[in-house]
């Protein structure tokens, strides 16, 4: 039976990328200097599966690359090689190379062959170097082992796999072949447990084996062969020694003691595996859609059901259940922010080395969950903010000491819930932001007038203005002048916001506020004639009823009104949307003041209705983009309401203003 392996290829890539992430975080753990056998085991296992997988799928370049990597890791694992900073850095680089190679073979990306060959060469060099230096290492480290390995001329292995072994994809015969490569192997099969033919399940294994492996073989080599199935079998490995009774006892004991440590590590991994399944995002989305439907149907039912008292209890129950169902389904799209955070230890490691600064990254709240789309889009802005903190915030060690601070700077990354939003905070204990420099720069750039007095917060806010950068030198890390304004714009496009606080000499805190999900929006329903529109609540500044004396006309046409020293242009929604309003007199209806990109306009509407959370649906799926409309949603009664595109409306108003201004000058 031929199996088309290509269908598993995607899974292999996904798992490999995950494996690489595990390796990376493990390596960074080692970098901390802690002698952590757990993480080196994790790294080794990840490398091992990538090697195995890439071999299966014929990615020979990846396999041979990983092979060298694995050999190095193996030595580190056995304590035959010192874990050095250079070693870890090289391994980190090779993780990058592997990621690139896998990406290249997955998506046909351009591959930097030169770099890979270079890293490969350095890995091999390092591996080779050990061979020369190894006598020292083995001599010192092999004290306890040498006695056993020298004395024995082979091993007796009692191997009785559990019945389900074949279903785990492990093939005893293949393992024996591998053992056979290590030394002289004699296999005796034990068929006691084989049942009658009629009772036999062909998918199960009833055999056990006694193996005799002769020759000078290391115990660890045998453990490697069985490492994948140690939980799926009874395994007893005893050396064939001259003193069979006494020696076999401790050796047999050493087997089980070695096993539990690795077994506990693996069982941890196993529970994580069992706790999640891979589901395509489109499937999740279609479930979310269906549940959205259910919620609408439910609310229609409860409106009609009001007339039937007998139905009330059932309908109330239905409402609770659907609401809960919707919440749970929405959570399926949520991922912990650790997906973004996990890349930062590496970033901090690399950059702090490059800059020669000592920086510690402290993260908390990694388990806070965010919508997958938000996570994807917030990554770049966060990278930017962290780079800024590292580059501009944290000082050089000597400067820090001079300022009476510990030489090692700290960057905190924190995520938490706050009032229906997710807050991500990037905080550093660096030198803070020099407000006078910011102000001087802003004046120089013509962003503000020198005569205007600005509050501290307003000065800091200037950093988010387009084209603003205070870095004296443009480094390759940050300070290219495309910084914070892009960050703010990206985060605003997600429906969030950024704020900055800073105290000179003590550090800065940047607070990023994000919505829980992009699929849902807090909306204010407004009424224009018989039609209802939804205004995103985030963009509403206030709603007000105005008096005739507040109104001004630009050239007798452009309507503006004065709100606390600000002239705000008025947009009559019914004019743009060509609908029949109840009020055309501006003092009768309401003005909803909305803001986007720092610009405000007043939308003239008939009335405000309720506030509610709405599920955003795209108009473009089946129709096309419509000016002034950002999307649609389905209301409780099953009808469709349109969501206003505030930035779009502001642009429209500016066009009007510009034409008015032209008229004025003419």
């Amino acid at each position: 039976m031929a199996i088309d392996v290509s269908q598993f290829l995607q899974t292999f890539y996904e798992e490999s990328f995950e494996g690489l992430d595990i390796m990376e975080s493990g390596l960074l753990n080692l970098d901390g200097g802690s002698e952590n056998s757990e993480s080196i085991n994790d790294i080794f296992r990840a490398a091992h599966s990538i090697k195995g997988g890439s071999g299966t799928f014929g990615l020979n370049a990846v396999a041979s690359f990983t092979h060298v990597l694995e050999s190095l890791l193996d030595e580190m694992r056995d304590g035959r090689r010192q874990i050095t900073k250079e070693g870890v850095n090289l391994l980190l680089e090779s993780v990058d190379c592997l990621r690139e190679m896998l990406k290249a073979s997955q998506g046909g990306d351009e591959l930097d062959a030169q770099r890979i060959a270079d890293v490969h060469g350095r890995l091999e060099a390092m591996w080779g170097k050990k061979e020369a230096a190894s006598p020292v290492a083995t001599a010192s480290g092999a004290d306890n082992e040498s006695a056993a390995s020298e004395a024995n001329s082979g091993w007796d292995i009692k191997f009785s796999p559990f019945a389900y072994i074949l279903k785990t994809g492990n093939e005893p015969a293949r393992m024996f072949r591998e053992l056979g490569e290590l030394g002289e192997l004699t296999v005796t099969v034990n068929t006691d447990k084989v049942p009658d033919f009629s009772e036999m399940d062909p998918d199960e294994c009833f055999l056990s084996w006694d193996l005799k492996l002769e020759g000078n073989v290391k115990r660890s080599a045998i453990d490697d062969v069985f490492s994948w199935i140690e939980e799926d079998c009874d395994l007893k490995i005893t050396p064939i020694a001259s003193k069979p009774d006494t020696a076999s006892q401790p050796a047999a004991a050493s087997g089980p003691t070695a096993a539990p440590t690795s077994a506990s590590a693996r069982s941890g991994g196993a529970t994580a595996e069992a706790a999640s399944i891979r589901v395509g995002i489109d499937k999740v989305d279609s479930v979310i859609n269906l549940v959205g439907e259910l919620v609408i149907t439910q609310s229609m039912l409860s409106t009609t059901g009001e007339a039937y008292p007998a139905l009330q209890a059932g309908l109330a129950q239905l409402e609770r259940n659907t609401r809960e169902l919707q919440e749970q389904v929405m959570r399926m799209r949520m991922l912990p922010v650790s997906f973004v955070f996990n890349r930062f230890p590496r970033l901090v490691h690399d950059i702090s080395q490059k800059l020669g600064k000592q920086i510690e990254l402290k993260m908390s709240g990694e388990q806070t969950e965010l919508d997958k789309t938000v996570i994807e889009k917030v990554t770049d802005p966060l990278v930017h903010l962290i780079r800024n903190s590292l580059d501009h915030g944290i000082e050089m060690p000597e400067d820090r000491r001079a300022a009476g601070k510990p030489a090692t700077g700290t960057v905190w990354l924190d995520a938490y819930h706050k009032g229906g939003n997710i807050i991500i905070e990037v905080k550093d204990d660096g030198k803070g932001i020099d407000k006078s420099v910011v102000l001087a720069k802003a004046i120089e750039r013509g962003l503000v007038d020198a005569s205007v007095h600005l509050e501290d917060e307003q000065i800091l806010d200037l950093i988010f203005q387009p084209g603003f950068s205070t870095a004296k030198e443009v480094s390759d890390l940050s300070g290219r002048g495309v910084g914070m304004d892009v960050v703010r714009r990206n985060i605003q496009s997600l429906g969030g916001g950024v704020e900055i606080r800073s105290k000179e000499g003590e550090g800065s805190t940047i607070t990023v506020r994000l919505p829980l999900t992009l699929a849902i929006l807090d909306g204010q329903t407004v009424e224009v004639g018989t039609e209802n529109y939804i205004v995103p609540l985030v963009s509403i500044v206030e709603s007000t009823q105005i008096k005739p004396e507040m109104l001004n006309y630009v050239a007798g046409k452009g309507e503006t009104f004065m709100l606390r020293d600000e002239y705000i242009p008025v947009i009559r929604l019914y004019e743009i949307f060509d609908s029949k309003p109840r009020h055309t007199d501006i003092t009768k209806g309401l003005l909803v003041v909305v803001e986007s990109d720092g610009k405000k306009i007043g939308l003239f509407v008939d009335d405000l209705l309720g506030q509610q959370q709405v599920v955003i649906k795209s108009l473009e799926t089946n129709y096309k983009k419509v000016d002034g409309i950002s999307g649609a949603t389905i209301l409780g009664d099953g009808s469709v309401a349109l969501i206003l595109d505030i930035p779009g409306l502001i642009r429209l108003s500016q066009q009007n203003c510009n034409t008015d201004r032209l008229k004025m000058s003419a």
């Binding site: 649906k617 089946n622 409309i629 649609a632 469709v640």
Partner: protein
């Protein structure tokens, strides 16, 4: 293997019912006393007229959008689309929801028609090419004419209808002016 076979079968099937096959099936509907037909495989559902939400800044024939089990579907009035006389919607007025293919993929569009009449089995030889009317009548949306029981049915090319230009001819003229 099984899936490959079934897709092949499906393709064969479609060819069998489509315009090039021996026997094509069409849903016919009535618009101002005239009979039109659309490929039955495109029809998603037929439903009675329900009020829609008007979308501002769109052409007149675009009546608005409708919630079709969670999907927001645009609804187009075919009388206005073809610049025919407008009438009041009656209980017989129906919306045919169909899928339209374009370069960007498939979309759902609903059309408002006076009434649906029948599902027609049309042998390929009964489908005649559209005669050329010159400038008088635009025939670019008509795939062919079929004669069924001595009635003439205009077979609409829905992809052409909804992808070329959403504006009816007069509006284009107005824009040119």
């Amino acid at each position: 293997m099984a899936t490959a076979a079934s897709t092949e079968a499906m393709q064969l099937d479609q060819r069998g019912v489509g315009l090039d096959g021996d026997n094509a099936q069409f849903l016919s509907f009535i618009l101002a006393g005239e009979h039109y037909g659309i490929d039955i495989l495109r029809v998603q559902e037929i439903k009675g007229w329900t009020p829609v939400t008007r979308v501002p800044q769109t052409p007149q024939h675009m009546k608005g959008v409708l919630n079709l089990r969670g999907t927001v579907v645009p609804i187009v009035d075919m009388r206005m689309r073809f610049s025919l006389e407008e009438i009041e919607y009656t209980p017989l007025t129906v919306v045919i929801v169909m899928s339209v293919k374009s370069d960007t993929g498939e979309r759902l569009v609903g059309i408002v028609v006076d009434a649906v009449s029948d599902v027609l089995n049309v042998p390929a030889e009964n489908i005649k090419p559209t005669p050329d009317f010159g400038d008088k009548v635009s025939t670019e949306f008509i795939n062919g004419l079929a004669s069924v029981d001595d009635k003439m049915v205009m077979l609409l090319d829905v992809d052409q209808l909804f992808n070329t230009n959403e504006l009816p001819a007069e509006e284009i003229l107005e824009q040119v002016k």
